[in-house]
Structures are given as structure tokens and as C-alpha cells.
């Protein structure tokens, strides 16, 4: 049994080590783009809203509509919500695709390149999750600067300690919070995917001859967790941006309940 916490390099290209996670990530990304364009073409052809759409088209539509509504419910500012929606919905789709490609049967030790597995879930690579988390937090700041202005956004973190000592301390905590949020986003997704893969491998090894009967249940569980994790990442990104653009006490309380709910779901 082979368990590695980091993605393993297969070969080097243009000075970048191409790992097994990147390889599967490219496949997942290509599949997602092709599928989405296919769905978009189907929808563009169907101008009159007939029901002659395939299952996968309707699935994408259903998911998109649900997420779009969630974004609008979470971010009260309609203009910002419309801008944010494509970004956070893309996060959901890429996370769910990278999670699901990671539990395909040929991923892991089933196919090897030399002694290293040829494929590894992109989401089980910290580079991917950390990049997504950094993009999310940077996006929060970009929208916060655009909506609140430079001074307004800076006022969230830096408050004059002589005028408002408690506010100053809260601002300092908020600043630390931005980094902890970023780390938490990255680590939560990575941990879940990595643990899921290890779980599947362990079940396969421990189940031995019974594993073909046992694994389907764990696969279904993984599919469920994949959807949940993608939704959690999406929801947190939306909530963080929503909080950044509407910085007041009301938003804070809404935010804390949302975060509580999402963190309960993720644990």
C-alpha cells in the first residue's frame, strides 16, 4: 500500500514538475470545459425551453440555478451578487469535478508510472486547494475595495486604538482571520479529499476479497462528501465575499450563523 501526502512528480516540463495530480487535473479541467460548452450549446439551441434536454444538461442547470439563487440570497447587493456568481459557481464545479475524478477506479495504484501512481486527485494536492483559497481571499479583497473603497476596506482591519480600543483589537483579529480563513479553506478541502482516498485504499486492503462488495458503499459516501465539500467551499467563498462587501454588525451575525452551519456540515 502506498500513501503519500503530497503529489508525486512524474516528469519535468518547462522547468515545472508535472505531478500525477496535475495530470488528472488537466483531464478533469478538459472534461469540465468540454461538458460545460456542450451544455451551453444545448441550452442555446433550445430557445423555447422545451424539456428535450439530456439528464446531464438538466443536472448542470439545476445545480447552477440552485447556486445562483444561494449567491443572491447570501449577498444582498444584487449588482455584486451578479458579478460574484460566475466566480463562486466555477469554484463549485471545479472542486466537484476534481473530487469526483479522484475516486475513479483507475486513479491511484491501479495505474502506475514506474513506481508512482499515474493519477492522483487534483483536490488531494495542496497546491490546488491552497491556490483556490488564495484566489478566494484575494477576490474578497478585490470586491471589498471596489464596493467599500480603499479607506472603507482598510477601516475593517485598522482602527485608531485611541478612539476605539476594542474595535482596534477586533480589526487585528479580522486581519488574522483572513489568513486563517485562507488556510482553513485549503486544509479543509485537502484533508477531506486526502482522507477520502486513504479511506478507500484502506477499505480495499482490509476488505481483501470482500472489497468489491464493500467499496460501492464507500464510493457512494465519497460522492456525497464530494458534493458537500464543493458546496462548503462555494458557500464559504460566497459568505466571505458577502461579508467583505457589506461590513456591518448585521452581516456579521448572518455570517457567523452561516459559518457555523457550514462548519457543522463539513465536520
Amino acid at each position: 500500500m502506498h500513501v503519500s501526502i503530497k503529489a508525486e512528480p512524474l516528469f519535468e516540463m518547462f522547468g515545472i514538475e508535472i505531478t500525477n495530480a496535475i495530470l488528472l487535473g488537466i483531464i478533469g479541467l478538459g472534461f469540465l470545459i468540454v461538458w460545460m460548452i456542450f451544455v451551453a450549446r444545448k441550452i442555446a439551441q433550445d430557445r423555447y425551453g422545451s424539456d428535450k434536454k439530456g439528464f446531464f444538461t438538466r443536472l448542470v442547470l439545476w445545480v447552477f440555478e440552485g447556486l445562483y439563487k444561494t449567491v443572491h440570497e447570501t449577498i444582498p447587493n444584487k449588482k455584486v451578487a451578479r458579478q460574484v456568481a460566475p466566480f463562486v459557481i466555477t469554484i463549485f464545479f471545479i472542486v466537484v469535478i476534481q473530487y469526483y475524478t479522484g475516486i475513479l477506479p483507475f486513479v491511484g495504484e491501479a495505474m502506475t508510472f514506474g513506481h508512482t501512481p499515474l493519477f492522483r486527485s487534483q483536490a488531494a494536492d495542496l497546491n490546488f486547494t491552497l491556490t483556490l483559497a488564495i484566489i478566494t481571499i484575494v477576490a474578497c479583497q478585490v470586491w471589498a475595495f471596489r464596493v467599500l473603497g480603499f479607506k472603507g476596506n482598510m477601516h475593517r482591519y485598522f482602527v485608531n486604538p485611541l478612539k476605539d480600543p476594542i474595535g482596534c483589537f477586533a480589526g487585528f483579529l479580522e486581519l488574522i482571520g483572513e489568513f486563517s480563513r485562507m488556510l482553513a479553506l485549503a486544509m479543509r478541502l485537502f484533508g477531506n479529499v486526502f482522507a477520502g482516498e486513504v479511506l478507500l485504499v484502506v477499505v480495499a486492503y482490509l476488505g481483501s476479497f470482500a472489497s468489491p462488495a464493500l467499496l460501492p458503499f464507500f464510493y457512494i459516501f465519497e460522492l456525497f462528501i464530494g458534493g458537500i465539500q464543493a458546496y462548503v467551499f462555494f458557500m464559504l467563498a460566497t459568505v466571505f465575499i458577502g461579508l467583505a462587501v457589506s461590513h456591518d454588525s448585521h452581516a456579521e451575525s448572518v455570517h457567523s450563523t452561516e459559518v457555523k452551519m457550514v462548519s457543522e456540515m463539513s465536520t
Binding site: K6, L32, I33, A40, I89, T90, N127, I135
Partner: protein, 187 residues
């Protein structure tokens, strides 16, 4: 099981740790930039070619739903108005019908009263005519009786006195006697 635990324990130890914490977790800034580009491309492609048709379709559907709701509301309002109109017309018709029935009753009563009056008038006329006829008959009978009685008395007196008295004179005498008697009787 022991072998498994051993494998787990040995995994980390056997890893070639380079570059401190980031290296051990496999974090590589070049790969991260690659990921950033990939995500950027994905967002660009989806936001440019995929989301607009989906959003347009959702907007269209929302518009359709809104229009349908509006139409349904209008239809329901129309039907309510129609029901109100019908009720109004019904009540109006009922009032008119009641008026007509009342007028008919009144007319019937009038006709009955008129008929009764006419019948009474006719019966009274008939009775009066009959009475008059009767009175005339009685008078005639009385007159006849009186004449015959005078004749009889004349004849009887003639017989009794055995004296031929002039018939006409007798009769005159008797008539005078009778009318005197009648007057006395009346008095």
C-alpha cells in the same frame, strides 16, 4: 494489521523531505501559478461562453413564470368581476321578477273585484226586474179579481132583490161601495 500500521508509519519517514514544511506538503509556487492560470482560463471560458446562455434561459424562464402568474392573477380578477356582475344581474332580475309578480297579483285582484261588482250589479238588476214584473202581475190579478167580484156581486144582488136594475148603474154603485170599503180597510 501490524504490517499496515508499519506501512503508515514508514510512509512519512521514507519521504524525501526537501524545502521544509512547504516541501513536505508538496507546495510548489510554480505549480500554484499553473493552477492559478488554469483556474483563470476556466473562469474566463465559463463566464464568456457557458454562463450567459444559462442565465439568459433562467431569465427567460423567470419572465415566463412572472408573466404566467400575472396572467393567472388577471384571469382570477376577471372571473371574480364576472361573478360579481352575474350576481348583480341576478339580483336585479329577481327584483324585476318580484315587481312583475306583484303587479300581476294586483291586476288579478282588481279583475276579481271588478267581476264581483259586475256580477252583483247584474244580479241586482235581474232581481229588480223580477220584482217589478211580480208587482205588475199582482196588480193585474188584483184588478181582474176586483172586476169579477163586482160582476158577481151585481148578479147576486139582482137575484136577491129580484129587480132588474140597470147593469151599468149597478156596477157603478158596487165599484163605489168596494172602493169605499177598501179605503175603510186601508184606514
Amino acid at each position: 494489521m501490524e504490517k499496515l500500521l508499519y506501512l503508515f508509519a514508514s510512509t512519512e519517514a521514507s519521504e524525501e523531505v526537501t524545502g521544509g514544511m512547504f516541501g513536505s506538503l508538496g507546495i510548489d509556487w510554480k505549480v500554484m501559478i499553473l493552477q492559478l492560470i488554469a483556474f483563470g482560463v476556466l473562469v474566463f471560458v465559463l463566464a464568456k461562453w457557458v454562463y450567459p446562455p444559462i442565465l439568459a434561459m433562467l431569465d427567460r424562464r423567470q419572465k415566463l413564470i412572472d408573466d404566467s402568474i400575472k396572467a393567472a392573477k388577471k384571469a382570477s380578477a376577471d372571473s371574480e368581476k364576472a361573478a360579481k356582475d352575474i350576481a348583480q344581474q341576478l339580483s336585479k332580475a329577481r327584483v324585476e321578477a318580484e315587481d312583475i309578480v306583484a303587479a300581476a297579483h294586483k291586476q288579478t285582484e282588481q279583475i276579481l273585484v271588478d267581476a264581483n261588482q259586475e256580477a252583483e250589479r247584474r244580479s241586482e238588476a235581474t232581481v229588480a226586474a223580477a220584482r217589478a214584473q211580480l208587482a205588475r202581475d199582482v196588480e193585474t190579478a188584483r184588478k181582474t179579481l176586483r172586476d169579477e167580484t163586482a160582476n158577481l156581486v151585481a148578479l147576486a144582488t139582482e137575484k136577491v132583490v129580484d129587480e132588474k136594475v140597470d147593469m151599468t148603474k149597478d156596477a157603478k154603485l158596487i165599484r163605489e161601495a168596494i172602493s169605499k170599503t177598501e179605503k175603510e180597510v186601508k184606514e
